[in-house]
């Protein structure tokens, strides 16, 4: 009897060791998706928010259109403390999608970064796309090798520069407000890019550079959560009440443009630039100067096709606009749609600015100082991707908090 038990124990230990070796990175557990497959999306907001989340949802529809056998399933309103899923973590929700047949999961918010990492590590057989993350950027500050994960982000810095330029070309008071979400690397670099665009176009238009005011007010998250964030409606109102006549939105929802319409209807000449979603101006076209937006579809489709064919590689993608046509739905990762409120002269000048960017104009070139006056880029020095991605503070000349703690 003892011998039998000893044999069973030995065989069990051997089996565990063999299985551990297989699971420990000895070989890929990723199988090609094949002709027909389901992919899941974990969305931070509602799928029809006219903002960040809808841009992702529409990209999912684009994938279904481009890859005939692909079927999307999704869960929306997934964020820390969301009342939609009390007591459930984001990775558990992703597992629900896997249980429904998803072989690839897209996490669409930086709020899900840790949970996406946990999920990817727990499920090496499931493909993971983490939008806006940098976990698998080998040259990044937070690199973790995960062969089943790819990071995708658009170079919205260009979109924000164009937005900043648009604001500067329109503002009559020289006071531009930036409705910021939470403070992190991404939001600092985007707000700063808007400032660089505004500063450049303000000067190009012959204005006194010192007369430009650019203020950032942060609400604390990507949209309003009472008890957690400031109220973006109140922030937008405060900007307009204080003489800021253009508000650039950096959040996922439409308060900036909604409030601009209220003030405009009351006779105050103010404008707004929403964010994220191509159709965001539709909320109030009369005050909308334009919208920088993400077009996730082409990158998602191309990446998912590699998973379909077995050519997947874990990579960090930071995709720029297609300068031949920044609004090409099949090639450009970011775009800018002009709004109905943009004046004709400003529109012409904006076209020139976009053409200059396409021709190689780079605003992330020194001299650029951080908000505290420390030199970040010496004269003539071009910022590296890391310097832009991990911008530690807002820039000199911008008003507003740089760090959250």
């Amino acid at each position: 009897m003892r011998k039998i038990l000893a044999k069973i124990a030995f065989l069990s230990i051997a089996a565990i060791l063999v299985l551990s070796a297989c699971g420990g990175g000895g070989g890929s557990q990723l199988a090609p998706l094949g002709d027909e497959f389901t992919f899941g999306m974990i969305l931070v907001g509602p799928h029809n928010d006219h903002g960040w989340t809808q841009a992702h949802y529409d990209a999912g529809l684009y994938v279904e259109q481009q890859i005939p056998g692909a079927k999307m399933i999704y869960l929306e309103n997934v964020y820390s403390g969301s009342p939609a899923y009390p007591g459930t973590t984001t990775s558990q929700l992703a597992e629900q999608l896997v249980a429904q047949g998803a072989k690839l999961i897209i996490f669409n918010s930086d709020d899900m970064k840790d949970e996406a990492t946990k999920f990817a590590q727990d499920h090496p057989d499931i493909y993971v796309i983490m939008a806006s993350g940098d976990q698998v950027w080998a040259d990044g500050n937070a690199y973790i090798a995960m062969e089943n994960m790819t990071n995708i982000m658009g170079r919205m810095e260009y979109g924000k520069m164009i937005a900043g330029c648009t604001a500067a070309l329109t503002s009559q008071t020289g006071k531009i407000g930036y409705l910021g979400p939470l403070i992190n690397d991404e939001t600092r670099r985007l707000a700063s890019s808007a400032y660089l665009g505004a500063k450049y176009c303000w000067a190009q238009a012959g204005n006194d550079p010192a007369a430009l005011e650019f203020k950032v007010t942060w609400i604390g998250f990507w949209f309003n959560i009472p008890g957690v964030t400031s109220d973006p409606t109140q922030v937008a109102d405060d900007f307009f009440n204080s003489g800021y006549d253009v508000v650039i939105s950096g959040i996922d929802t439409t308060e900036a443009i909604t409030e601009a319409k209220k003030y405009s209807d009351a006779g105050t000449p103010v404008w707004a630039i929403p964010y994220d979603y191509q159709g965001a101006c539709d909320t109030a076209p009369g005050v909308c100067l334009g919208v920088p937006y993400f077009n996730w579809g082409p990158a998602y489709a191309a990446t998912i096709k590699t998973a379909q064919t077995g050519d997947w590689t874990s990579e960090f993608q930071w995709n720029g606009p297609d300068w031949a046509n920044i609004n090409n739905p099949d090639t450009s990762a970011v775009g800018f749609v002009k709004g109905a409120a943009l004046g004709a002269d400003a529109s012409t000048q904006l076209d020139q600015f976009i053409a200059d960017l396409a021709g190689g104009l780079n605003l992330w070139v020194g001299p650029i100082n951080l908000q505290d006056g420390v030199v970040y880029l010496a004269d003539g020095v071009i910022a590296t991707d890391q310097q832009i991605w991990y911008l530690p503070q807002l820039l000199e000349g911008m008003e507003g908090q740089s760090v959250s703690e």
Partner: protein, 332 residues
């Protein structure tokens, strides 16, 4: 920040406080009658989408506001029926309705997500709007904000200066005595709960058709205000004037969180964003602390001068709920 900017900012504080004020006044009326309507959070959300949907479909803001009031009244009717007629726990029913109303609003609101709808416009009052300081503060608002100013005093007058108001206090404090004096306690409780609910229901469209126009589902940023309104009702000591002060204080704290952000760069932005909520809870604590026995002991140990000042301060802040709040009434 110049004077005009501060005045316009403070005018915004008054306008943004209006929805909370309606909710607080509505709850004050309800609780004065002895009924706790805990459903505020769900009622506000449900009436917000109800009012917005009706206004979008009909193009009439008035119908939108009436729809909000109807939703509030119906939810209150459920609270009244289950607690007065069925004698169920008011707390349990209200809490369930708060959750149900919230989730139902998100479900029903899907077709109205981010669509452009009607919105109340400002209605400056001629001549009065030009009065220095007072004009920009009070007389360049919209009609709903004017109504919020008026309702504070109207409800205060009703409760504390009229005979029916005396009876209202009676059914909340000593329903048996009110019954002996001829009051139909349960019928009056029904009526005041429904009226209070209708006023609470006005808070929803006050958001979705005015201060936070539109509907954005989970991102609307309305979830939580109902609970704040409940705490302000307690802070207000069931007195409309004091409750209004609480609503304005909360709104002011929210505004200060914004304007102080660039002034106090050393303080983490999250602290300023969240501060109004714990500060209201702290104030609530101060309001109720004087009723505690350990405070009495602490006061007794204080030097006389300090004890005198502290006692007066605590007494001024002290508030006691209606004696029969939440207690069912039986005529036998």
């Amino acid at each position: 920040m110049d004077t005009n900017t501060i005045l316009v900012g403070l005018a915004g504080v008054l306008a943004l406080a209006a929805p909370i004020l309606f909710a607080v006044i509505g709850e004050t009326i309800t609780e004065r009658a002895g009924i706790i309507n805990l459903s505020l959070n769900g009622t506000i959300l449900l009436s917000a989408i109800g009012g917005f949907a009706v206004a979008c479909e009909t193009g009439s803001l008035l119908l939108g506001f009436l729809m909000g009031m109807l939703v509030g009244a119906l939810v209150a009717l459920i609270v009244a029926f289950s607690s007065i007629t069925l004698r169920q726990s008011q707390v349990a029913v209200g809490f369930v309705l708060a959750l149900l109303g919230r989730d139902l609003s998100y479900f029903l609101g899907t077709p109205y997500m981010n669509i452009s709808g009607p919105r109340l416009a400002a209605l400056p009052i001629p001549f009065l709007k030009d009065i220095p300081v007072l004009g920009p503060l009070f007389f360049r608002q919209d009609v709903l904000t004017y109504l919020s100013f008026a309702i504070i005093f109207l409800v205060w007058l009703w409760i504390f200066r009229t005979r029916p108001g005396l009876m209202l206090r009676g059914i909340g404090e000593r329903p048996a005595a009110a019954f002996v004096r001829g009051a139909n306690v349960n019928l009056m409780r029904y009526v005041y709960t429904i009226i209070g609910g209708a006023v609470i229901g006005l808070a929803g469209p006050a958001y979705s058709l005015n201060v936070k126009a539109g509907w954005m589902g989970y991102q609307s940023g309305l979830d939580g205000f109902g609970w704040i309104a409940l705490s302000i009702t307690i802070f207000g000591g069931w007195n409309p004037l004091r409750a209004a002060f609480g609503a304005y204080l909360f709104s002011l704290l929210q505004w200060l969180g914004l304007v102080l952000q660039p002034v106090l760069p050393g303080i983490p932005s999250q602290v300023l964003q969240v501060a109004p909520f714990p500060l209201m809870i702290l104030t609530l604590l101060l309001v109720n602390i004087s009723n505690a026995e350990w405070v009495e002991r602490m006061l007794a140990a204080m030097p006389e001068g300090l004890r005198h000042v502290t006692t007066r301060l605590l007494r001024a802040m002290r508030a006691s709920p209606p004696a029969s709040l939440g207690v069912p009434f039986e005529s036998e």
